[in-house]
Amino acid sequence: MTTKLMGQGVQRVEDQRFLRGQGRYVDDVAVDAATLHAAVLRSPHAHARIVDIDVEAVLDIEGVHAVWTYDDLSGRMAEPLPLLIPHPTLTHGRTQYALAKDEVNYAGEAVAFVVAEDRYVAEDALEAIRVTYDVLPPVVGIEAARAADRLVHDDADGTVPGNVGARMEQSTGDPQPAIAAAPHRLELDLTIERSACTPMEGRGTVARWDPDTNRMQVWTSTQSSTGVRAVVAVKLGLDLGQVDVITPDVGGGFGVKINHPWPEELLVPLAARTLGRTVKFTEDRREHFVSSAHERGQVHHVEVGFDDDGRLLGLDVAFWHDHGAYTPYGLIVPIITSTQLLGPYKPAVYRVVFESVYTNTVMVTPYRGAGRPQGCFVMERTMDAIAAYLGKDRTEVRAANFIQPDEFPYDQGLIFQDGRELEYDSGDYPASLEKLKELVGWDEFPAFQAEMAAQGRRVGIGLACYVEGTGVGPYEGAHVHIETTGKVKVATGLTTQGQGHATVFAQLVADELGVKFEDVEVVTGDTRRMPYAVGTFASRAAVMSGSAIHLAAKRAKEKVLRIAAEALEAAEEDLEIVDGVVSVKGSPGSSLDLGTVSVLSNPLRYAFDEASKAATQFSVGDPGKPPVPEDDEPGLEGRDFYSPERATFASGMHAVIVETDPRTAEITILKYAVVHDCGNLINPMIVEGQIHGGVAQGVGGALYERMAYDESGQLQNASFMDFLMPYVTEIPDGIDIDHLETPSPLNPLGIKGAGEAGVIPSAAVFAAAIEDAEGITISAMPISPSELFHLRQEHSA
């Protein structure tokens, strides 16, 4: 019996090309002197009216093929970019134009589009374009947005009063009476600063219009191939069937590449068709900072009423979400904050109200965690505050509020980001907490803290719990095809940015079909291979595509067994497939390899090789029956879709021990512990890698990363020199990880998503640990050593 690959740390197939430098990322496509290169002129002002654009000086630059502004766009291209996820409460949604029409609303907004022989010349042309702006005072920061002394949007396209794009409320009742009546009450004000995904590879798009077939081929570094395809078709006036979108290897996404279309994703295909040449756009790092997307900036106000055990009797949360200049991704991030704030707890009454406000800054779309880190920060700080107030252990207060294992499925009474009920399917929070306490040494810590204090050292411990709705719909699909060589070709439409999908999904197919792992090849994100798909986000790929692939492989296997049973004159139940060979159990001599089954599945008139002769009309087939039965199809394929009724809820808990230097306020991580429940694991090595990566981004977000906007709306740290992402030296040397597996009842493999988990509780857990070390309340993140230093000074003053 072969070992199942499910649950094995199989080495990745992708590595074979990546390690040899043979990955094919978008800028590696169409490397050819004939390819033209694009560059974008971006607004240097956060808020301004465009008075004039003068391109006269560009004429002196050799090698420029086009300079476009809004006036060159017509039809659908002249309309604003789509608002991807509308919501009834998003009453004042706004999206940008592909090229700014009359006004720019953030420094970085696209104003002109240049196509030239190469990127150097294109950038020369950018410098030669003279734009005359009428600079307007910008709105920067949530406070300024709320004060609304000035408006971000007040133009021919309409006014957004008060800079409020949306106001949304969800509740399970009115918590105020419960809070008033509660034995104890607290109020907290909390702030989380903006950060961003900053994958190592920025955005890019290549397009080629084929006049021989009237088709547009687009390569783009995206998280949704089908999303881009649909918009390109509509905007360029093409039929969907005329557009192919191929996602190349992607150097990281972390959420920023789910937003689409970027202006360039439309302008590049349009240029390819207009100029009759392959056109490529690859952004540089500064562009990524000022013209992609950010996330995380929110301000929260919490009112909570609780009893002597710290149980939440009433929780009332109001927050303000800074969504930047535009709202293409709707309200997904604040909706996730609203709902996932609840974590593993069950407050008796909960109300959350948020206002999503405009500022003249880069727009906000999901970044790993997508609003959950903010929600987790708020809830966990509240838990810690309650524990401090009551003088109780922080784990006890949390445990008192947990949803218990026997309460699943647990309906929180709210609507989640997928438009469906927020109902947790499975989990075991008490067990996770026990594991975490064990792993980090929670009970032993007070003694350790005292010991350190005696040496003049300050250490602190913190913990944070989270729940993550993963695997949201609407669906994903898969196609499995067994070729006459026995090779299995698998396609699913969502995309990959480093998660090892080709490996993980091949494991599933190898298990289900009984073929060798090496004989399975998986393609993701190519609309030619699987045109029905949604995308990679919300930690959904393993759940959605994993399930679809499993189901599609099952269908293919059913057909294999049916054909083989007939050919081997055996009953289907007596057959097994091992290493790509179908045989009668116990009779190894009676067997067929899958390649042969594939040959038999397709009745031929013409043989094309030795093996295929067996399927030709004089060799096989009952003259009394049609060669292809009425309810069947030729070929050995399986196709299926997975569409769950709701999300499946993963969970986890982190704990960290930090040391703060009494003089320099430097923060050192002594120990980082993770207990993680994502249901059944397909490849533990890959899951662990996701946790490592998430924790690192969490460390960055908690201690180093922020978007430093000045009052003119200028991003002052738009480079890696000043936006501080962690190197290995900032990451704990080793992370202790323990797993819990509460399988999901919602999909055949019992999987839950794992991609975002590592980053969700970071801000919370570091705030808690630093507070524990310092005895100073931490209510804003990130917190850098210099910020801690200033906090200390304020505190002692």
């Binding site: 391109v55 560009v58 002196d60 630059i61 050799e62 090698g63 420029v64 093929h65 240029a271």
Partner: protein, 213 residues
């Protein structure tokens, strides 16, 4: 696409008028013009090599002048095509005596098609204005320094003196060739001049490869 502009030529209006109606002058002053063949009264076939930045090539077109009100106004209609693009335009030209010379104003309504239309409106407008400026500068020079460089068929040659015989239209079928010119540093900018005098539409023309001048 609409383009307007005006240029001043330092010469009296009658000299300017005559110059702009003289094909021998035109072939020498229209940027990129290689060949001008008269096909009727104030009607020409022309071959112009022109381009916008990287897009250059040879372009064959026709141009005719109508609604002539001597020394005051005329309408020029032109149409042309090159490998990746086409242009059709109607240009209203008016002349006014001003201090120091003649102001020639143009108001063009043009349609640019094909690949070259993809260069972008502002590029087209900029090239047109630059070409118009260059053209009028050339005309001014041609009027001021009378060695008309055009080589023309037998009946037409203008040697020295005024380059134009007032009112004389070019003989039908006469072909004028541009004199060999030293290539100017910015010859890549030579736009198509639209026929007799004015404007614009720097546009177009052939793909860079294989057609580069």
């Amino acid at each position: 696409m609409k383009i307007q502009g005006s240029n001043v030529i330092e010469a009296p209006v009658d000299r300017v008028w005559d110059a702009l109606l003289d094909p021998a002058v035109l072939v020498a002053t229209i940027p990129g013009c290689e060949r001008l063949a008269a096909t009727g009264e104030h009607a020409y076939d022309m071959t112009v090599t022109a381009g916008v930045a990287a897009i250059k090539g040879t372009y064959a077109g026709t141009c005719s002048l109508t609604d002539l009100v001597p020394h005051e106004s005329l309408v020029m209609t032109l149409s042309g095509s090159g490998a990746p693009g086409t242009v059709d335009a109607r240009v209203e030209v008016s002349f006014a005596e001003v201090d120091g010379g003649t102001q020639v104003s143009y108001d063009a309504d043009a349609t640019v098609g094909g690949m070259v239309g993809g260069v972008g409106q502002r590029m087209l407008t900029s090239v047109s204005k630059r070409m118009a400026g260059e053209f009028f500068g050339n005309v001014g020079t041609a009027i001021a320094s009378p060695a008309a460089p055009a080589s023309a068929p037998a009946p037409a040659a203008e040697q020295g003196g005024a380059p134009v015989s007032t009112g004389a239209a070019a003989p039908a079928n006469a072909v004028f060739s541009a004199p060999a010119k030293a290539s100017s540093p910015d010859d890549f900018l030579k736009g198509i001049a639209v026929g007799a005098g004015l404007v614009v539409l720097g546009v177009v023309v052939g793909s860079v490869f294989g057609r580069r001048r």
